[in-house]
Amino acid sequence: MMHKLAKDDIQSDILGQIERVSGEELNKCYQCGNCTGSCPVSFAMEIPPTKTIRMLQLGRVDDVLKANSMWLCVSCLQCYSRCPKAVSAANLFEALRQLSLRKGESHEEIKDLPFPFLKGAPQQAIVSGFRKFVS
């Protein structure tokens, strides 16, 4: 795909917002790929962590927000724990989720959850799941 790259993509407000919310500096990432290598769910992501960061560096926030990746991140912190530049892809995914959730768009609806799950699952699964998926 042809991507027109301009100053406004790189110096955009939305990137600044993602950096502020996540506390991460996108430019620190040098694309070594360790996060994707470590990530237990990268196999199922439409855009794996390393490439997600790259696309953010290039200002392609919309493409990243459309992908399922941020919803699949399990916050296990393997990516961060092995990152040679101490960048947390998990934090960036959380920031992207926040970007979406703060607009009031939930990823999961409570009413859709099956009753056996609600009855049998540990409370922490429900609480943390709500925090991650529900606006």
């Binding site: 795909m1 042809m2 991507h3 027109k4 790259l5 301009a6 100053k7 790189i10 110096q11 500096e25 430019n27 620190k28 040098y30 694309q31 490439k51 790259r54 696309m55 560096q57 290039l58 392609r60």
Partner: protein, 657 residues
């Protein structure tokens, strides 16, 4: 009859486990000319060497064979021992029965090893019988050095040699010393101003009592050999008397004619009488004769009129000066690859596509824009600049296969300089890999990316073209996998570092070798990095390949150490393995002259008392001969032989094979 002693080493178990050294020693004792033969546990040990010395005295030996390890290991050891006991060191030979026998034949019955050791030792004994005592050759050394090239490497070499108390001739073909470094704005990774650190060194070189400067001069011819070179230098006509000129600069102000400035890479003009840049050393102008109407057509003459001391001399001609030196340092530097061959980058057509060296001038506070980044086409401050690394480097098809080594770093520096000068601007860098292997280099490139906001894109630019006053750059970002298009306002090519035009001719004059890119070859890339295969000629800086300033300066100093080492003795000793001509047989076919890789064989004219030529024959110059023996095999009349490896010696060895 020879009186040879044979010493068979057991090397602990290393030889003894597969060779019956006692048996070898016994068999050797039977050979004619062998008066003493023994075996011993460790011949190279102090007692072992003592035994050799004692045997030499006791048995009045005139030759010694030590059958032990490879001569590459201990030949020197035993030759020294022999010399101490009064036997000529070249009458000592080693028979290699360890590396080439006991270690490669694992038969513990010792049958194969013993038989082969006997053969090897016997061949060595027969060879030794034909050995002549030889004496190391001593060559007088002229303790002056010639440095070719006045860039940072040459300046450093010259200063260090001069500080070491030896005279230096520094030859520079431009009107000023300083080289490419004088063009640079700031230097990575410390960002100190290039001129600020270079100018003091230039001045120091000019003022040093031991340095004689020839600028606007070129080496014309080199004769001789290590310790004894004769060099002819062409001092090109400057049309300004160097003795009279005070460097006041009136002529430059008044000269009415302009030409593109070479130093400013064509980004500015200079006068026809000019110094390349204000801090030039020496501060003496030169007239661009081809563009001077006075010299071409006899019209003008203003500079002569305004020159107070009367230093202008339109009649000046090139002069050839001859200097005698003992060592030569070659430090002729680099140039950047002409961009014209990269049509896809629009170089030469699109005004706003420039090279890194152009960018250096734009960024330099002493440069044509006073340090402001303005693009050449319309002086606009570009709001985005694309830097293209590997422009010609790592390109086997159209450029050079090697990495130019400095571009990753200077491009990172350029993005920083640009960001500092144009804070709103956006720098893009297309790269294939970032090679930042020096001290504090990786941190520097990361700083450009992380702190100074340079956008690095991993990919090679495929095309650059103009559209509506913009420079459109089309490439790829292989990290995201996408094609990328950028509307830029200026493009900077990190053009490949290539050898100087004419480097091959200089190499031929000097008799040194060069690679397919015309970079000069070091003797050994690891262990003799500043020597050439030609004794007394050394290399420093980018004439050997791309390198950065710290490396060039290190090599300049390294070479100075080598030169001062060479100059530390009155005479230098050389291995006497050289060829010599039997003039009675030489039929003057000159095959040897053609074959010799060192131009060590010359045509000698023999004259009678009246001075008439009675005969011509070949003559080997001991100083140049390296002892390869190519001439010996080339000689049809068998007039040449090689000391230490004579035909007689070889045939003697073969005869007992």
């Amino acid at each position: 009859m020879a009186r040879i002693g044979v010493f068979i080493c057991q090397c602990g178990k290393n030889i003894e486990s597969t060779v019956d050294t006692k048996k070898v020693a016994d068999e050797m004792a039977e050979l004619p000319g062998v008066v003493y033969s023994c075996n011993y546990r460790f011949m190279c040990s102090a007692p072992g060497q003592e035994d050799v010395k004692k045997a030499i005295k006791k048995h009045k030996l005139d030759g010694v064979v030590v059958a032990a390890c490879s001569p590459h290991m201990h030949e020197k050891t035993f030759r020294r021992a022999c010399e101490a006991a009064g036997v000529n060191p070249y009458k000592c030979e080693m028979a290699n029965i360890r590396e080439q026998c006991s270690w490669v034949h694992h038969d513990t019955t010792k049958k194969a090893g013993t038989a082969k050791s006997i053969d090897i030792t016997r061949m060595t004994i027969e060879r030794l019988k034909k050995n002549k005592p030889l004496k190391k050759i001593s060559i007088p050394v002229n303790k002056r050095a010639l440095v070719i090239g006045g860039g940072i490497a040459g300046i450093q070499a010259a200063l260090d040699i001069a500080e070491g108390g030896r005279e230096v001739i520094l030859v520079e073909r431009e009107p000023s010393i300083g080289g490419n470094m004088a063009r640079l704005s700031e230097t990575f990774p410390t960002m100190d101003c290039s001129q600020c650190i270079l100018t003091p060194k230039m001045v120091e070189a000019e003022l040093h009592d031991n340095i004689k400067l020839y600028t606007w001069s070129e080496v014309e011819k080199v004769d001789g050999y290590i310790g004894n070179f004769t060099v002819q230098i062409r001092k090109k006509a400057r049309y300004v008397d160097e003795e009279l000129c005070t460097g006041c600069g009136d002529c430059l102000v008044k000269c009415p004619f302009k030409a593109p400035s070479e130093f400013e890479m064509g980004l500015a003009t200079r006068k026809v009488i000019y110094t390349p840049f204000p801090q030039a050393v020496p501060n003496i102008p030169v007239i661009d004769a081809a563009r001077c109407p006075k010299i071409q057509k006899g019209k003008c003459g203003i500079c002569e009129k305004v020159c107070g001391p009367g230093a202008i001399d339109y009649e000046q001609t090139d002069q050839i000066v001859t200097e005698e030196v003992g060592a030569i340092v070659v430090a002729t530097g680099y140039q950047v690859m002409p961009t014209a061959r990269f049509g896809e980058y629009g170089a030469g057509k699109i005004k706003d596509v420039i090279t890194g060296l152009h960018f250096e001038r734009l960024a330099s506070s002493a440069g044509p824009t006073g340090g402001e980044i303005r693009r050449p086409s319309d002086d606009k401050v570009p709001d985005s600049v694309v830097f293209i690394q590997c422009s010609g480097s790592r390109d086997e098809a159209k450029g050079v296969a090697y990495c130019s080594k400095i571009c990753c770093m200077y491009t990172a520096k350029h993005t920083m300089l640009y960001k500092h000068k144009v804070p709103d601007g956006q720098a893009y860098v297309f790269y294939m890999d970032i090679r930042a292997g020096g001290k504090r280099y990786e941190e520097f490139t990361r700083r450009a990316i992380e702190k100074e906001g340079a956008m690095y894109l991993r990919g090679r630019v495929s095309r650059v073209y103009e559209r509506d006053g913009k420079v459109i750059v089309q490439g790829a970002d292989t990290l995201s996998g996408d094609q990328i298009e950028i509307e830029a306002e200026m493009v900077v090519l990190a053009s490949a570092v290539v050898s100087r035009t004419g480097a091959d001719q200089l190499a031929q004059k000097l008799g040194i070798s060069y690679d397919r890119y015309k970079f000069f070859n070091e003797y050994h890339p690891k262990l003799k990095p500043v020597e050439t295969v030609t004794g007394g000629i050394f290399l420093a800086g980018t004439c050997m390949g791309p390198m950065d300033i710290p490396d060039a300066v290190s090599m300049g100093s390294a070479v100075a150490g080598k030169v001062l080492g060479l100059f530390s003795a009155e005479e230098m000793a050389r291995e006497p393995i050289t060829a010599s001509v039997n003039t009675m047989i030489c039929n003057a076919c000159w095959d040897c002259v053609v074959a010799c890789p060192y131009t060590a064989i010359e045509k000698e004219e023999v004259r009678n008392k009246k001075g008439e030529i009675v005969r011509v024959n070949a003559k080997v110059n001991d100083g140049l001969c390296q002892g390869c023996g190519v001439c010996v095999a080339a000689c049809r009349s068998k007039a040449i032989d090689l000391a230490g490896y004579t035909d007689e010696q070889v045939y003697a060895a073969i005869s007992v094979f």
